[in-house]
Each structure stands twice: as C-alpha cells, then as structure tokens.
Symmetry: C2
Subunit: 405 residues, 2 copies
C-alpha cells in the first residue's frame, strides 16, 4: 500500500508513542471512544499508522486511498486538520510531507519553473540571480505613479517587478489601468535596453474573480501573475495553473504564513507549504532570506530552496525568492547561502536608495555582478557609484524587518 509520509513534532502529556497513535487515529478511522459502526477491514485499508518515532518527531503514514485526488483542502483536513486541537497534545507541528510518486504525478506542477522563467528574461546562459523589486509604498500610488516607479526600476536593471501583497484592485489604483500603464513602460524598457522585465500583477481574490482577472490580464499583455496563496487557498493556485488560457508564470507570495509557521513547536512548517505550492504549480515562491537570527532559520531556508530546485518525479523546479529587508550590501551572503538560482527581491532596498529607484536598481545589479565575478563589494564600489551610495546608507547589516517575505 502506498503511503503519504508526514513528520510531526509532538509534545504531549502522553508518551509520544501513544500521542502519535491517537493523532493517527483521529486523522483517519478513529475517534475518542470505541464505536459500534466500524466495519471490519476498514482500519487495515484506511487507518493512518505510526511508521517511526525519533525523539519528539513521529512519522505517520496515510494510505493514499484516504485522499481525494487533487483536492488540497481535503488533503489539509487530513494531514493538518483537527490534530492541532487535540486536548492531550500540547504542541504539534507538521514538519514535512512526502507524497509518493503516484500522488505527485496527479499534479501538473509549475508550467515554467526556473528554466522557463530564465528563458523569458534571457538569463539562461549566465545563470545569474534575478533581481526583483516590490513597488513601494505598498499602497497609495495611482496607476501612473506605479508605472513611473516600475519604469525607473526596469531601466535600472531589475528582472522582476511585483505588486505588494496587499495591493489588488482598490479604487486608488485600479488593476486594469495599472497593468496597462506598467506594461507600456515595460515595452519602453524593452525598446531602450533590449531587456524583458517581468511584472507580477497581483490578481489575488476569490477563485472565480481571480480567474476572470487572469484572463483579462492575459488579454491586456501581462507577462506574469502573482497570488497570495495562503489567504486565497492552494486550490486557487491550482485552478490558475491548470487554466490553459493563462500560460503565464506565477509568482507565489506566502503572506500570513507566520501565523502558522513562526512558533517552532506548533503549527505548520514552511516545507509542507512549499511542497503544496510546487504541486499546485507555483513558478516562484518566497522562502526567506539568509539573515535570520538563528542558524536553524538558515538551514530551514536552505532545505526549502533545495527542495524547490531538486528533481521531483518529473515536476518542474520552482524559483526561490528571497525577500524582506534586502539591499545591495547583503547580496553576497544571500548568494553564498543559496546559490545563483535565486530571486533577490528588494523593495525598500531599492526605492530607499539616496538617489532614487533607478540608482537603487543599478546598485542591486552591481552587487549581483560583483558577486558573479567573485569581486568583493568593497573593491567593486571603486567604479560603481550607485553601489557605493547604497553601502554608505545601509552597510552590510541586517535590518530589523528581517523575517518578512
């Protein structure tokens, strides 16, 4: 029988063996008391079972037959549902999920992946990290102002421009007009520099509206879409990436994840979220930066990025995105930690440059070029004044907003 294996950190008033068994029962064929309605043979076919226990971590196997194919809400209800409220378990954290090949193969995964996105941008050959920016302020620019900021960022050399996670289709910046004006500017950047810059339009909404927005965006020349996967749901991502009228790469933001991921002893780790995002077809996913306060943060983000990039039953890779408090001074350490297949995203770290957005974008690209050429930023600033000015302002330090993303 094929099993989906899930690892849980468990803290209980019961011995872990008993707590893990109770968890497996509650999430499959059991309840809190013996019942008269259980047919014989059910447990053998459908009961989840404890496969291994190591310290505080129990591995539980769920028979694939217990799942409805491609129904992520049902999947979450089973592996991440009521178990969090069990009275006898004080803390429980879903650490990892490992579905078997047959399960993974039911999903199409990313349409583009790292290769596909690099092909659009034209970085397949040099394989350098991409530089992205988030339009700032988060909210408050009108479409024309947004397009102007995007133009400066594009001319300065970014590969990707994205809406912030709270900007969708508010009256102060209507989505259709924003897309039209930004894409006009991106066309101008293409004419003037020959470079293609992606603009990830945040189409986040309920699934029906989201799909309408995606269709309309395709018609109006969008070259990338963005969704907030945790607030709108994995199924919305799945619907979007299965829609053959929307053949665009999808930038996946994880806003709200901290409500579940931040407590290291309870909730859901980022890895299961990354697994589901890859199954459902995200082409880019925020995973964090190298600058966490604990070693374990760095190891966790490395693990996430490695998972997104590795071969996985034929599904395409996902481009990891480092975001939150980034600026040119920290580029070398990010690339050292995660390698070149990385999107380095700076919002404040570009628009906060003393000489403005275009200079800020140049400084980020200069930091990437220096890193690719194996030259220290200290040496590189001699001939690169934008980088010099950025380092003067921000140095190479971590900012307090280091856990955003």
């Amino acid at each position: 029988m094929e099993l989906v294996e899930c690892d849980y950190h468990i803290e209980s008033i019961l011995p872990i063996e008993r707590a893990a068994t109770a968890l497996a029962a509650e999430q499959s064929t059991g309840t809190w008391t013996d019942i008269s309605t259980k047919p014989s043979g059910v447990d053998k076919r459908l009961a989840a079972r404890v496969l291994n226990i190591e310290g505080s971590v129990a591995t539980i196997g769920f028979p694939v037959e217990i799942f409805e194919i491609e129904n992520i809400p049902q999947f979450l209800a089973t592996v991440a549902g009521n178990l969090f409220g069990l009275g006898a378990i004080k803390n429980v954290r879903l650490l990892d999920i490992r579905p078997p090949k047959s399960f993974v193969k039911e999903f199409r995964g990313p349409r583009f992946g790292i290769e596909g996105v690099r092909k659009i941008v034209g970085t397949k050959k040099d394989g350098r990290p991409h530089v992205g920016t988030i339009i700032k302020p988060k909210v408050g620019l009108d479409p024309k102002e947004t397009a102007e900021v995007a133009y400066q960022a594009g001319m300065g050399g970014v590969d990707l421009i994205k809406d912030d996670e709270t900007l969708t289709d508010q009256s102060f910046c209507p989505m259709d007009e924003r897309l039209e004006r930004v894409m006009e500017k991106m066309d101008l950047v293409k004419q003037e520099t020959g470079r293609t810059v992606l603009y990830a339009l945040n189409v986040t909404a309920g699934t029906e509206k989201l799909l309408e927005r995606a269709d309309s965006a395709v018609e109006n020349g969008a070259n990338m879409l963005m969704i907030d996967v945790l607030t709108t749901g994995f199924s919305a991502l799945q619907s979007l990436t299965k829609d053959d009228s929307v053949k665009l790469p999808i930038h996946v933001h994880r806003t709200m994840h901290g409500a579940m991921t931040r407590n290291r002893r309870h909730g859901i780790s980022m890895m299961p979220i990354a697994v589901l995002a890859r199954l459902c077809g995200g082409d880019q996913l925020h995973t964090g930066t190298a600058r966490g306060k604990m070693d374990s943060d760095l190891e966790e983000v490395k693990g996430l990025n490695d998972f997104l990039k590795k071969d996985w039953f034929g599904l395409k890779s996902v481009f990891p995105v480092a975001s939150g408090g980034l600026h040119p001074g920290v580029v070398p350490s990010e690339v050292e930690a995660f390698g070149k297949n990385l999107v380095l995203q700076a919002g404040g770290g570009i628009h906060g440059h003393p000489d403005g957005t275009e200079a800020g974008a140049r400084a980020m690209r200069q930091a990437v070029d220096a890193t690719m050429d194996g030259i220290s930023l200290e040496d590189y600033v001699q001939d690169h004044k934008e980088l010099a000015r950025a380092l003067e302002k921000w140095g190479k330090q971590v900012e307090w907003g280091d856990l955003y993303g």
Copy 2:
C-alpha cells in the same frame, strides 16, 4: 474616515508603542527604510494608525479605503499578513476585528441563520438545542453503510447529520451515491416520524469543483451543505452563499484552525474567523465546547457564540455548533454555558453508545429534553434507559479529546 479596528496582542523587543506603530506601517504604507517614492498625502489617506494601547493589546485602525470590497484574501493580507513575521515582534496575535457598518453591509451574510434553520427542522416554537451527529468512522463506510448509520441516527432523533471533515468524494464513498442513499433514508425518517433531518454533505474542494458539487447536490435533493472553510478559503464560502442556485443552509467546519488559534500568544484567535464566517454567509459554525481546560476557554467560546447570535448591522445570526468529545452526560453543562440556541454535536458520543447509534441518538435527545424540562439527568434516567446506559459508559466527565471541533 471610517476605520476597520483590529486588536493585536503584541510581544516585542521594542516598547509596545513602537512595535504597534511599526506593525501599522508594515501593513499599510510603510517599509523598513525611508523611501523616495512616497507621494505626499498618502499616509494621511491610507496609513493604518494606532488607536489605543492597553497592556499588551494594541488597537490599530485601517482606513476602509485600503481594502478591496468583498476580497477576503486581500483583507487577510492586510490585517493578518506579513506582520506575523516581523523580526522585532516576537509574538503577535490578531484578537478581534471590528469592521464598520458600511463594510459589513457589502456582505450578504447567512441566508438562513438560526431562525431559518429552525424553520426547516421545525423547532422554532420550542427553541430547544439541536442535536447533531457526525457519521463515524470518519472515513471507511461505503454509501450504503453511511446511509444506514444516518437512518439509525435520524430515527433516534437527531436534527442534523454531517459528514466528517475529511470525507469528500473519495473512491471508497463516492459523493453522489452517498447523497442519494442518505437522502432516501432521510425521506424514510420523515415518513415514519414526520421529522425533517438535515444532512450536511461535505462539498469541500477548490471553488470551481465545490460550486459544481453544490449544484449537483441541489439537483439530487440535498438539504444542507458543509465546507471546511480554512482549508478551502473564505472566498469559497462566499461564492457558495452568493450562488442563487444554491439556496441551502451552510454548515461551516473550522478544521486546521488549531494551527493558528491554539497558541494564545501568537497567530489568529477564533473571533476574527467567526467574524469572517458570518460575513461570508455560514449558517452554522463550530466554536467549541464548554469543557475546555481553562476558564479563559469557556469565556472565549461564550464570546464567540454571543457574537454569532447578536444583532449585527442587519446580518442574520449564525447557529453555534459545539462538537468534539460530546456525549449525553455533558449536555446540561453545555446548555447552561451557552443557552438553547446551540447545536450539540456528538459523533463517538452517539455511535459509541453500548446499544448502537439509534440508542445513542435517543440518549442525546433525552439529555436535551431533561435539560429543557429542568430535570437532572440523575432523575431522568429512571424512565429513560438509553440515557441511563450512556451515563453508565461515559458518566459526566470530560474526555481527553475535548478540544476537537
């Protein structure tokens, strides 16, 4: 300017005033560094502001203009987004959200509410608590077996039968056939007893599939639908309740909530979830039982149930559901805590009755009748053998699975 007020519990390395200001900035017009792209006047119109601080709790006001009407994912990204990951804030918990009337009025809310559900079941006059059951085992019965268990529960006197939160449309129990067979039995119960029993079919899936399932369920005679609102998303609930071809009451399950709600110092409390569920149109919502381990649990559930039942800018009420480890012995304390406008839901507490499901359902109804008549269970068992047998097995104690739901 109209504001959506949100209360946050905050623990920070910064003084709370500064932490709250940083949170308000991050979630509206600010970022971690000063930027060159902010137009004048933006902060005045769109910046969130700290309205009040009391102990560890900050109240932050978000201008309504910052939100896209009816876009719950965007709403969550704003009031419950990146803030959970801010490096300078160690723990932060969204405790409550209070939208103004103009905001609430954009939502239709529940179609039926407590009154509407009571009208279907025929309990408007006596106003007694409803008794519900969850088919057990959670998974593993085929459609015929499910219908047989439902028939026994219906004949025993329950008002509501629901699928478990992990049962959708798996191959061992196809949804269409399950619905057909259960509704045949419910018709039989109606013929034999004159009583209408609701069957909440769990249509949880991605929104598109969910809406298809709802339409098909209506055609096939369903009288209630159920969704797991946190795994599928509030927008799915919203789409379902706005669909005028699906005029059925909606039973809302909150599975996975413990990943966000359980840590009392971080994440999201149940109250914001209840507020969103009412806005989006749930007619019934799981809120917990009276038997938590701490007084604060009881007070919290009381607060939730009071919110669901109170007048709220013209939106209909929501029927609170107590579920998880319930059995006849605890009925009086539940009703004492929460009043009669309550669904008492017992799975194991009915199907685990020593004489089977029908006797278990009778015992629950007897406990409700005794409570309504002001008679103690100890006295009532003299003439009610099913109740007597239930008390022999379970007593009046709390079971360890007391925090399910």
